[in-house]
Symmetry: C2
Subunit: 239 residues, 2 copies
Amino acid sequence: MSIIKSNTLKNIPFFKNCSDKTIEALSDQAQIIDLEKGSMLFSNKDKAERFYLVTKGWIKLYRETIDGAQSVVDILNANNVFGEVALFQNDTTSFSAEAAERAQVMSFPLCILKKEIENNSNLTMDMMLSMTRHARQQDQEIENRTLKNASQRIGCFLLRLVDQRKTGEIVIKLPYDKTLVAARLGMQPETFSRALNKLKDQIDLHVVGREIRILSLQDLTKYACSACSSEFPCHDIKS
Amino acid sequence: MSIIKSNTLKNIPFFKNCSDKTIEALSDQAQIIDLEKGSMLFSNKDKAERFYLVTKGWIKLYRETIDGAQSVVDILNANNVFGEVALFQNDTTSFSAEAAERAQVMSFPLCILKKEIENNSNLTMDMMLSMTRHARQQDQEIENRTLKNASQRIGCFLLRLVDQRKTGEIVIKLPYDKTLVAARLGMQPETFSRALNKLKDQIDLHVVGREIRILSLQDLTKYACSACSSEFPCHDIKS
DNA sequence: TCTTTAATTTGATTTTGGTCAAGGCAATAT
DNA sequence: ATATTGCCTTGACCAAAATCAAATTAAAGA
């Protein structure tokens, strides 16, 4: 059984430079956790002893004030790893994690990863790269909040879901529900709904539930990227 | 002359784990650049071949759209290093740099740093730590933009300038001009001015030019941190 | 299918911050 | 000292988004 997990791990980008021995150790200590929608995996108050791999569904990472207002840090799906930065922050995290929908994660002891990092510079470099990419995305996000209005942020979000080489009509399926997309983009659900309507007025775009049909990528690009420092197609696309 | 620079570098946190040989090499290839206020050091369009150390004044890192709207990424003063992340991004940066006031920087070839990183895991770990800290700050910044209003953001900014253990009356000097503080906080100068006035109404606070006198840190904390996920004193304070 | 619940939309209203224009103030240069 | 320039503030107005309330639609269970 532990062997199945090992094979699984080898195919995950995050683990590709891990030594076999460490993969074994991680597999042995792995736990599988099933999560109902909305159930919390950990809180920023907790001491971090494990890190996580998403295997099914979506996990929301967020910060929360005393009175319940949330700021979304990231939203991750299968094959993404999170919670590992605790290694560089005295075993604390600055965010909480919960299932955005029914989901499954695998958890591993941080201490195993810590040991591996100390003498595997390839893994360290991988983490460095992914951290750099994340930092860049955060910079981009701050720029978006500063310079783009709600409709443009939605447009930008949509563009990142598209295979950017495609031409002609395109159908996009929102990866998770609209309320969560709104939160991810830093706006209220009501604002999201209205801003999407405005987008419909501006460019040729049809919405049916979570599916969005776009007739001209160019128009959308022109609209969304005009208030952006980077040119389309964006260089900081995920994964 | 190169020796003076070497000694200087050894005292900079960023270089503390660099080998002597690399410090020598960096010193030999170092260039000193004086910058008038507003003059640009590099643009995100440029290919990055060097990284930088601030030696005097303030440097503004920012992103800019075609029509000149800016989003501030960071504002750095003496002893801070920037531009080194280009190493992990194919020798590109996603931001531009200019002097926020008369300033001086030292520049070094990235390739020397690259070589050093490849076989100095201590340095790599340092960079990892500083990158983690920066990422955390960015998360905090996104939270601030999402959950705090203009006055609370200003309050938060002020709190981070204070020695948090002090009690009683406190005088804070803004590190750079108000227009730049406003940009750093993602608001217009007019909004900054008004929001600072509002802050005066809410808590006991006096402003004379760049100097701000605060009578009760507690009041300010209560006001600014109520819309925040982390408790005061903040854990992600700079440097 | 019928309930029940949750997600989404819409309308009305308020709040916040942005924009534009004008003045005041302060630092620097002449 | 006076002029010039750039920074900062204020007022009037506008626009975007948040909030509150209600209706509608979609999804999940029984």
